[in-house]
């Protein structure tokens, strides 16, 4: 109806002042309400972050203000025994660093090599078989990797290095399996970075007589370096936050040791063990998981931000 009215009046220019108000946007209440709901959905993520920062901060403050805890000795002493009031986080941090190091020794070189193979060497057919397999590996739940570490990697290590030298729970086995878990992540992110390098660069290198290997190593990898480093950093961050593998295979009970064949509890392993069962609120144990959680959150957040910056940077170069 309204449109017919408009088209009739359009014929005479004199009536333009009548048309204009008709063309004005109608206020639509329903649309506004939907938009507000959608905005609130988006805002939930902000609330989540605020919740994380607030709760971790609040409980950590309670933890550090309790008389038994001293923030200086928290970061410098090497005994973690809440039952006798010793809160030195270093043993936990140390074993987290150890498992992360072993994981990276596996995941970084192998992940990058797999990425180079998939991006520079593999035929379309080989890639269509190998990539889904790596994706399956990435989708295996971490608790299953824990089982794998305890029932495959540890017996394997004990077979190679001797039953007496390797404890049933040890950081080496957990770290190696963690490396296998992170390998697909590193390889798929690195492969994205390698494939993003323009074809012209490869062709220029081939034109100058470079072999495929020389092109890959001297041209493509340096060009994709920031993306590759970003993948490495995400891998490290994942390793630090990984819980189930270390909870199952790295041993329970904090120990300050540099021996990878012995058991030692990591930060995440400690949190998982302490909170299994009914943990009473407002005890030093309860508060301590928040302090360690805050440490974990800060480390991974910083690593993720650095990685994101690097990815953004390499996107700028080739777009």
């Amino acid at each position: 109806m309204a449109s017919m009215e408009i088209s009739q009046r359009m014929k005479t220019d004199k009536l333009t002042p009548v048309i204009l108000p008709l063309l004005k946007k109608k206020p639509r209440v329903g649309e506004k309400i939907i938009q507000i709901f959608l905005f609130l959905s988006g805002a939930i993520s902000i609330l989540t972050t605020l919740g994380i920062v607030f709760e971790l901060g609040k409980e950590s403050l309670l933890f550090f203000s309790s008389p038994e805890v001293n923030i200086f000795s928290f970061f410098t002493t090497t005994t973690w025994q809440p039952s006798i009031g010793k809160f030195g986080v270093l043993p936990l941090v140390n074993s987290t660093l150890m498992t992360t190091t072993f994981a990276m020794l596996i995941a970084l070189p192998l992940g990058l090599a797999a990425a180079i193979y998939l991006s520079e060497y593999a035929s379309a057919r080989a890639r269509s078989i190998l990539k889904p397999i790596l994706e399956i590996l990435a989708g295996v739940p971490t608790v299953v990797y824990g089982y794998f570490a305890l029932n495959f990697m540890t017996p394997l290590l004990r077979g190679i290095l001797g039953e007496n030298n390797v404890q049933i729970y040890n950081t080496l086995s957990a770290g190696l399996v963690m490396g296998i878990m992170i390998l697909p992540l590193v390889s798929s992110m690195s492969e994205d970075a390698l494939s993003a390098v323009p074809r012209s660069l490869r062709e220029a290198a081939y034109g100058l007589g470079a072999t495929r290997f020389e092109t890959a190593i001297k041209i493509i990898v340096p060009a994709a370096l920031s993306g590759i480093i970003a993948a490495f950093i995400i891998g490290i961050s994942r390793a630090i936050g990984e819980t189930m593998i270390v909870a199952v295979a790295a041993g329970s009970g904090p120990a300050f040791t540099f021996n990878p064949l012995k058991g030692a509890e990591t930060m995440t392993g400690y949190i998982a063990r302490i909170s299994g069962g009914d943990l009473a609120y407002d005890t030093p144990d309860y508060n301590s998981i928040f302090a360690i959680g805050l440490l974990l959150f800060s480390i991974t957040l910083i690593l993720n931000i650095i990685s994101r910056r690097l990815v953004a940077k390499y996107r700028e170069v080739y777009e």
Binding site: Q35, E59, G241, T300, N304
Partner: protein, 415 residues
């Protein structure tokens, strides 16, 4: 210019040598690159073999009363009356009366009676267990060991993954344990997670892609924030779930607000909400990608016909993006199904034999059971853990296969 043919020949032969050297280096590295990829493949095969190997085993079982001596045919084939009779003759009068009073024996189901006979009369105990590989490669030693150590016991083959494993409730005796309680717990948990995370996640994605003005600082903060949340370790979500849902919102999540007596917030609801928070960032990012892939011409056509913004989104953008959104959601959910750490923190019970009845029940979940059984020292628990892992992996693989099918259909239709 080229007056010295000998020099040229020398140069070219030298160049050839260098060239073949360069190609050789390339070949060696190519082998390294390929084998790195293959290592991933080998790891996957080793993982699956380990799990399969442990799901089948030879168990050394000791019976208090050998089931073969109880009746002249297998216990399963006995009628209800015969089973009750068995119970009466083999149990003390008091014990029999207690059982009868709890639930009149003659009216119980066959399955129930059979369980009673096993628990009270036969009382099987697993003393040791040998996985298939051990059995095959170490057979004579195992037979000798069993004969020497457990002369009274019987050696039986057992497939741990079976129909009854799927439908039996948890039990303190690994020989009778099943995963029904844990499966139902996981199911409830995932339902709550989907109901909460799907509308909020898709809503956020629509807001960010269709409404948000990217030049506004608050919209940029929301986007950056979501990207960062995706990298937060799952255990941190568990800690937050513990502080917010389990503790602060206990009146709500424990059901006390709705007249539930037990004021403990360690319920399926708390766990489901925690899990929803955990998968939200991934769900949002995946849905955003699906919405971004919708061609702009579709929107413009709708606007051109006088559609409002929401009509355009609801009738054109969402239907087009739906397969992509569903694929992303399935992938996010399959992550939630295998996630263990946050459930431990928000306090999933490890031993609970009653099925969950609603959002306010205590619960256990499949990955929690796997964790719990894996950490027990006895070999039989490794066997049931392996069987549970198989169930979990089959669930995840079929979910992922669905996602891939959806993605293929989607790309064929719009390519």
């Amino acid at each position: 210019m080229n007056s010295n043919p000998y020099g040229d020949a020398f140069e070219s032969s030298q160049r050839k040598a260098i060239l073949s050297q360069r190609h050789r280096t390339g070949k060696i590295w190519q082998v390294f690159f390929l084998s790195s990829t293959v290592i991933g493949l080998i790891a996957l095969v080793a993982l699956l073999l380990t799990v399969l190997d442990k799901s089948f085993s030879y168990v050394v079982i000791e019976y208090k009363v050998d089931p073969a001596t109880l009746a002249n045919k297998p216990l399963v084939e006995l009628s209800n009356a015969e089973l009750v009779n068995l119970l009466e003759t083999n149990l003390s009068k008091n014990r029999f009366r207690t059982l009868d009073r709890a639930n009149t024996l003659t009216t119980r189901s066959h399955e129930d009676l059979l369980n009673l006979v096993y628990e009270n009369v036969v009382e099987p105990r697993a003393l040791a267990s040998y996985s298939m590989s051990q059995w095959i490669f170490d057979n004579p030693r195992i037979r000798a060991e069993v004969a020497d150590k457990y002369p009274q016991a019987k050696l039986e083959f057992r497939a741990w993954i079976s129909g009854s494993f799927l439908i039996d409730p948890l039990s303190g005796n690994p020989l009778q344990a099943g995963v029904r309680t844990a499966l139902l717990g996981s199911l409830y948990l995932i339902l709550i997670t989907i109901v909460v995370a799907f509308p909020v996640g898709v809503g956020s994605a629509i807001y960010l892609e269709e409404y948000a003005d990217k030049t506004k600082w608050y919209n940029r903060i929301i986007q950056t924030n979501i990207d960062n949340l995706a990298g937060v370790p799952s255990i941190v979500y568990g800690i937050i779930g513990l502080a917010i849902f389990v503790r602060t919102l206990a009146p709500l999540t424990s059901g006390a607000f709705f007249g539930n007596e037990d004021g403990n917030g360690r319920t399926i609801l708390s766990a489901g909400l925690t899990m929803a928070l955990l998968i939200l960032p991934v769900l949002i990012i995946n849905s955003q990608e699906a919405i971004r892939a919708v061609p702009n011409s579709l929107r413009q056509a709708s606007y051109g016909l006088g559609g409002t913004k929401w009509q355009t989104i609801w009738n054109h953008v969402l239907p087009y993006a739906l397969p992509g959104i569903l694929t992303g959601t399935i992938l996010a959910i399959s992550r939630a199904i295998g996630e263990t750490a946050p459930l431990i923190i928000v306090g999933a019970a490890t031993f609970i034999t009653s099925d969950p009845t609603g959002p306010f029940s205590k619960f256990t979940a499949l990955p929690i059971q796997i964790y719990n059984w894996t950490t027990r020292p006895q070999e039989v628990y490794r066997n049931i853990a392996a069987a549970a892992i198989l169930i979990l992996m089959i669930t995840l693989l079929s979910l992922n296969a669905t996602a891939i099918l959806l993605r293929n259909r989607f790309s064929r239709r719009h390519a």
